[in-house]
Symmetry: C2
Amino acid sequence: MDTRKKILHKALQLINQKGFSEVGVREIARSLQLSPGNMSYHFPRKEDIFTELMDNYMQANSENYAGFGEGAPTLKRYLEIVQKALQLQYKYRGLFLAFPYFFGEIHTGRSKYPATYKKRKNDILQILTSLQHARQLQLKKSDIDFLFSFLSLFGRFSIIEAFMLHRNRKEADILKHYLTMLMNQLLLFATASGKRSINEFRKAYF
Amino acid sequence: MDTRKKILHKALQLINQKGFSEVGVREIARSLQLSPGNMSYHFPRKEDIFTELMDNYMQANSENYAGFGEGAPTLKRYLEIVQKALQLQYKYRGLFLAFPYFFGEIHTGRSKYPATYKKRKNDILQILTSLQHARQLQLKKSDIDFLFSFLSLFGRFSIIEAFMLHRNRKEADILKHYLTMLMNQLLLFATASGKRSINEFRKAYF
DNA sequence: GTCTATATGGAGATAGAC
DNA sequence: GTCTATCTCCATATAGAC
């Protein structure tokens, strides 16, 4: 592993442990036995470390969502996508909690986040309509709005909630809690075959 | 208004505008024409300002929830409580985005947050069961778990989501969006009289 | 690419006079 | 209670040797 990757890896590890503001550039350098000057060579600003980690996350997440289109649109497959998305978020959990630090930046146009947000919004709406067409979900117009609102909040904050309130809970338990919540929500709008698909997911993973 | 209150008021205003980390003690002092030393007299650490604002919020929120027990347990009244809770969160919105800063503290026992969290959890469960008894909601055991999970996420993160993604949206629009979401969720579990109560709320406020 | 050394500027925090 | 002056810490930036 080259130095750049080592820095990213260690930084994420420390950020997940202590939170972004608590991790100093010097600290990362020390724990990798690097000089502060060398840190500055690779990442001129501390923020650059955050940005690159966030880019890596968003890239992986995009690929995950893109995978849904490449198979049959079932609720089981959708739940698998969400499961992977939550695992990804868990891996990068320290970043999400650090969001406020980059709050200003998000609204000044320098960040890629708003564009990615629009893309993800489209991903979700497309998945919902394809599940509707495949008769896995039965949705009125107002249901789509509601489910979309729910999925936005759910997708963006469930891992943050877990990390804030139950920091020491195991990843598997956290995932189980939130996937159960999602299954319950989807069951309220699922057709008979949709319900079967949800239960296949449940059997396969729990 | 005494100096202490002035500081709190100005601090909240600036924190809501720019985010906690972007607001310096010097900045608050300057905009109130106080010396930095005087700031330190009133609030030895910057964090103390945050803590006191958060305490004020939690106090107001507790009083709000306590109000539910003092009247008929209807969904309309519950929605009114949530409406007030969201308004309160909006007023203090900058604090919630700053949560990560106090992340460490939350888990070291110095913060009041975990205790308040347990209290709020009880508030919500009690409200759900009283709505069940009053035949406003029809809930199976698993529904209660689900709704509770939903309400936790909803109650804690809806305003944060709004603030992160749509910073300039008007308070009224934000409230409308999230209260609509909540009404839709509750409608899925409401009895006939529960549905009427929800619609009374809708008519009264939208 | 990596190191040491050093400079700068800004933040929170403190001491002591009034 | 309020002030001025000062301290310490840290992120960042730069210069120059290896």
